[in-house]
């Protein structure tokens, strides 16, 4: 029930006036002595009770007259929103999610139809009403302020700015903005929400609220855009991943892209590639229905800084899930801290950096006395990519150094423990217990001993695989070594004389890794160290930088378009997002707001003094042709709402007019008022008319007693 002029409702207490008058009249009623009341009682023994009943009926009728009069003046309508003449704040929500890019009719996409309908709705608004345009997917690339405006041209301009996105809608976010708009609306103004959407399952077919979103009665109408069946095949980028490791210039990284055909038709699509170095490629990829294809794109950053890569698909039936971007931040270089002197490590430092300066490899070996180790505290800038220690020096770390080392490992650092090159002359010292591994007696059997690769799946063999994915190195030979005694539950055996005699093993420690070796990387220990193919160099580089980032926490955040970016560590600070490729963005989100990006691309996300690369791919679920059926949306829970079919433009305009006018109760109430008035008149005057004439001497009106009247007249 809505009211055009609700101010009249304030006067409803006036309906009590008849009661007051009634009581006053009772107090003021005349009293007189009369010879006898027998004629009254003879006329009607129940006169007294009848009079009381009629009196009450009259009172009730008069109360109703006032009530109905005020209700009539208030112009009620059966709609929950005020009709024409009333003030109304309308939140016009346009679904700009990826699914809305699908075909709506022969000539328009669903989004285009939604825009046309939204413009019609703005035209249908009353003069005193105000509207706010709310894209369902927050889109920072377009300037649509969150405000109520009565300027229809301005509102239509906002509607025209709404563009398709590649995102999945988050209705909760949209309804939060709607509430924000309504909070700013003046008191007494009616409120309504009109959503133009295809009701895609991804957004609406899940439980959102279990209560009424709004504290008050608000008209929520969903205008459903029909989605014709799509016939062609559709390919989508399921994922795009860069290796989780320290990105350094000169190193080559494989970017893995998974392309899937989630339709029932086979497809042959073209995959387009572009990166920040200006490289482009394009290739045709056949995809059977329901299959996926993993594609690797090697990328070798040439210099420090932010880099990006964009993948796009052409040639399928739905375009809004065809793009994905990935960004990464390439560091200037990284240090590898060696505990002790360079000679203790043989060729190891040379494999890390042939020049010792980090040139070519971006890894720079630093040698420190044991007491100088672990002085980088928690500053990212001073944290090495890896700490290398001999078994002996590891035991010399103080408790504080050990604690710092453990924290470093927890945050993603790497520790490699190797024998000292000269270690074979002494017995191996016992390492700290928390390492979980220790070398046994050093051995030099006088003949070469074969150590086999025990875990060919490990990422330390990255770059050492053939086209079939097999590790090119199957074993290596050792002159000297020490078998390791490791905690088999925590350690993963990478190489060994057999599974019971490990030489090289790895364990995870927090976010970081601990590598332990029973073999020093020097020509006196193994021919592997001087292998001209550089296998050891690649392996040691992988150990230094593969797996996790040396920087605390992830540096590369991957999300789908429209997905809220959460879990970013750090204080309560604003977040700024800049674009590398994709939407041109330079937007700052206030603290507490979880940002999202509406389109695929590569972005930089800044929070405090940290910068992350943000990789955004199109939301693949939006390509599914699944829409909410029925008349209720699971998402809205107990919030009253209505789903209407969005009819062709002309019919829609008419239905809008009907909607805003509502079913006016003015005429029925006016008729009721007239009827009540007539009833009141009848109750109040029917008996009085005759009586008044009799009182003035015209007793002929007493038809049943003409004789008496005549007689008295003659007398």
């Amino acid at each position: 029930m809505g009211f055009g002029f609700p101010i009249f409702l304030w006067f409803l207490p006036l309906a009590g006036l008849p009661v007051i008058f009634h009581l006053m009249m009772r107090r003021r009623q005349k009293r007189m002595e009369f010879p006898s009341v027998m004629f009254f009682l003879k006329a009607d023994p129940r006169m007294h009770s009848k009079r009381r009943i009629r009196e009450l009926l009259l009172l009730l009728t008069r109360i109703l007259i006032i009530l109905v009069l005020l209700l009539t003046l208030a112009r009620p309508s059966l709609k929950s929103v005020p009709g024409i003449g009333g003030q109304l704040a309308v939140a016009i929500v346009v679904d700009n999610s990826a699914s809305m890019d699908g075909q709506g009719d022969r000539n328009h996409t669903k989004l285009e139809l939604a825009v046309i309908a939204a413009r019609d709705l703005v035209d249908a608004l009353g003069e005193d009403s105000r509207g706010a345009i709310i894209p369902l997917v927050p889109d920072k690339a377009i300037d649509v302020p969150l405000e109520l405006s009565g300027d229809k041209d301005r509102l239509k301009d906002f509607i025209d700015r709404v563009r398709r996105t590649e995102a999945r809608a988050e209705p909760a976010n949209a309804f939060a903005r709607i509430r924000s708009v309504f909070d700013d609306a003046p008191d007494g103004m009616g409120r309504a929400v009109h959503v133009f959407t295809d009701l895609h399952q991804a957004a609406w077919d899940h439980a959102g609220y279990d209560h009424n979103i709004f504290d008050e009665q608000i008209d929520v109408v969903f205008h459903r855009l029909e989605s014709p069946e799509r016939t062609g095949a559709n390919a989508t980028i399921e994922s795009i991943k860069a290796p989780q490791q320290l990105m350094l210039p000169g190193h080559t990284y494989d970017i893995e892209v998974t392309i899937a055909n989630n339709s029932e038709n086979s497809a042959e699509v073209r995959i387009n590639y572009e990166d920040s170095l200006g490289a482009t490629s394009s290739e045709r990829v056949p995809l059977e229905a329901g299959t996926s294809e993993l594609m690797r794109y090697p990328f070798t950053p040439d210099e420090p800084g932010a880099h990006w890569m964009m993948i796009g698909i052409e040639g399928d039936a739905f375009r809004s899930d065809n793009r994905a971007g990935i960004g990464f931040i390439c560091k200037t270089g990284a240090e590898v801290h060696f505990a002790g002197e360079r000679p203790e490590y043989g060729l190891f430092p040379q494999a890390i950096s042939p020049t010792g300066t980090g040139r070519y490899t971006s890894l720079r070996p630093i040698y420190k006395d044991t007491h100088e180790m672990m002085n980088f505290a928690n500053e990212d800038a001073g944290r090495p990519a890896m700490i290398v220690s001999t078994w002996r020096r590891l035991g010399e770390f103080t408790e504080e150094q050990t604690r710092t080392l453990q924290n470093y490992l927890h945050d993603g650092g790497r520790l490699f423990v190797v024998p000292s090159v000269e270690a074979y002359t002494t017995s191996p010292p016992a390492p700290p217990d928390w390492i979980g591994a220790s070398p046994l007696q050093y051995r030099s059997p006088g003949e070469l001993v074969v150590a086999h690769i025990l875990d060919s799946e490990s990422d330390i063999w990255q770059g050492l695989r053939d086209d079939d994915g097999n590790v090119a190195l199957r074993y290596f030979l050792m002159d000297r070594f020490s078998e390791l005694e490791v905690d088999e539950e925590s350690y993963n055996l990478l190489a060994g004389i057999g599974r019971r005699r490990p030489i090289l093993a790895r364990r995870n420690f927090g976010e970081g890794r601990i590598f332990v070796s029973g073999m020093a990387f020097d020509r006196d220990w193994t021919a592997f160290a001087t292998d001209p193919s550089g296998i050891m160099v690649v392996m040691l580089h992988n150990i230094a930088i593969a797996g996790t980032s040396v920087i605390r926490g992830p540096e590369n955040i991957g999300v789908a378009a429209g997905e809220e970016i959460g879990g970013i560590a750090g204080p309560h600070e604003p977040i700024r997002i800049d674009s590398l490729i994709g939407d041109t963005l330079n937007v700052t989100f206030p603290p507490g707001i979880r940002p999202s990006v509406a389109r695929a691309g590569a972005y930089l996300l800044h929070k405090g003094d940290r910068t992350y690369s943000l990789s955004v791919r199109a939301a693949p679920e939006e390509a599914m042709q699944k829409y909410v059926e029925g008349e209720k949306l699971p998402f809205l829970g107990d919030t009253p709402h209505h789903i209407a079919h969005l009819s062709p433009s002309r019919d829609f305009r008419r239905s809008l007019e009907r909607h805003f006018v509502g079913l006016s109760l003015f005429l029925p109430l006016a008729l009721l008022l007239v009827a009540l008035w007539a009833l009141e008149g009848w109750l109040a005057t029917t008996h009085k008319k005759r009586s008044r004439k009799i009182a003035h001497g015209n007793t002929d009106l007493i038809e049943k007693e003409p004789a008496a009247a005549e007689r008295r007249k003659s007398a």
Binding site: F34, P35, F39, R54, A708, A715
Partner: protein, 295 residues
């Protein structure tokens, strides 16, 4: 007598003057003791022929009707009804309801007192005797019949003192009157008859059965006939103290209808019993009402 009349409130000289021409006749034979103008059942000397009878020895010869003898050769005596005076008993209702005046110039009781005084005056003035009985629910005062104006003095003085009080019971009063009055008499009842018409009629029947000649004066205030008042009014019954709140406009027609029925019923039954029924509101001059009865 004129000087004395001036002293009576309810028999002013002006009224007495107008009543000099009035004469009241009765319809039924009276049983008066004195010679007067009203017919009685017994035979006597008068001009009104009653019957012929055979001559018996001893009858005075002068009473033989010789013209009849000439035609029939028979001696017959011409008999005539005896003409006697009437005894008039004026019954005045002094119940509480009579003390009402709204539209009329005086209360019903005042009007009734004027009427009673006038009736007594006229009766005495034509050589009849007149008595006064006041009643409410029983006989209250009784003044013996008198044939002289002086004899009316106590009754007339009482009229000036009498006040309306008590609930009325006309039927009971009439029964008492019938027991009190012996012989055929002229009964004048002056009342508003605010009692069930059936009960009133039972009293009338008693008088009729006893052979009384009854004249009924039904007095009402004009407002009792038309209820000219208006608005919501709480009416208090003057006799029973019962209260009734009514919207006058709303009930007026029903009330008037009931009053008319009451009057009509009394009138019709009085006619059936050969009683004179005269209705009047208090606006009508008393002498006109008397003259209406006279002719």
């Amino acid at each position: 007598m004129a000087n004395e009349q001036e002293t009576y409130k309810y028999l002013p000289a002006k009224l007495a003057q107008k009543l000099q021409v009035a004469g009241i006749s009765v319809r039924k034979p009276m049983a008066g003791m004195r010679q007067s103008q009203h017919r009685s059942d017994s035979l006597g000397a008068s001009v009104e022929f009653a019957e012929y009878r055979e001559y018996h020895p001893g009858d005075p010869l002068k009473r033989i009707d010789w013209s009849v003898y000439a035609r029939t050769d028979r001696y017959v005596i011409r008999e005539a009804f005896k003409e006697v005076s009437a005894r008039c008993f004026v019954l005045l209702d002094v119940s509480r309801s009579m003390d009402f005046s709204h539209s009329g110039p005086m209360t019903k009781l005042d009007y009734a007192k004027y009427l009673a005084a006038a009736m007594m005056f006229v009766m005495v003035n034509q050589n009849d005797s007149a008595a006064l009985i006041t009643f409410d629910n029983d006989m209250k005062e009784y003044f013996e019949p008198t044939t002289t104006p002086m004899g009316l003095k106590p009754a007339l003085q009482h009229l000036e003192e009498a006040e309306a009080a008590g609930a009325g019971n006309i039927e009971a009063a009439l029964h008492k009157t019938a027991e009190l009055v012996s012989g055929r008499s002229f009964i004048v009842i002056i009342s508003d008859f605010l009692q069930s018409s059936e009960e009133v009629l039972r009293g009338f029947h008693h008088l009729h059965h006893d052979g009384m000649d009854v004249t009924v004066f039904h007095i009402m205030d004009p407002s009792e006939l038309t209820l000219p008042m208006s608005g919501l009014t709480e009416l208090k019954d003057m006799e029973s103290d019962e209260k009734l709140t009514v919207d006058i406009e709303e009930v007026r027609d029903m009330y008037v209808m009931q009053v008319n029925r009451h009057i009509e019923y009394l009138q019709k039954n009085c006619m059936n019993m050969q009683m004179d029924y005269l209705f009047s509101d208090t606006n009508k001059p008393v002498h006109e009402l008397i003259l209406q009865r006279s002719f």
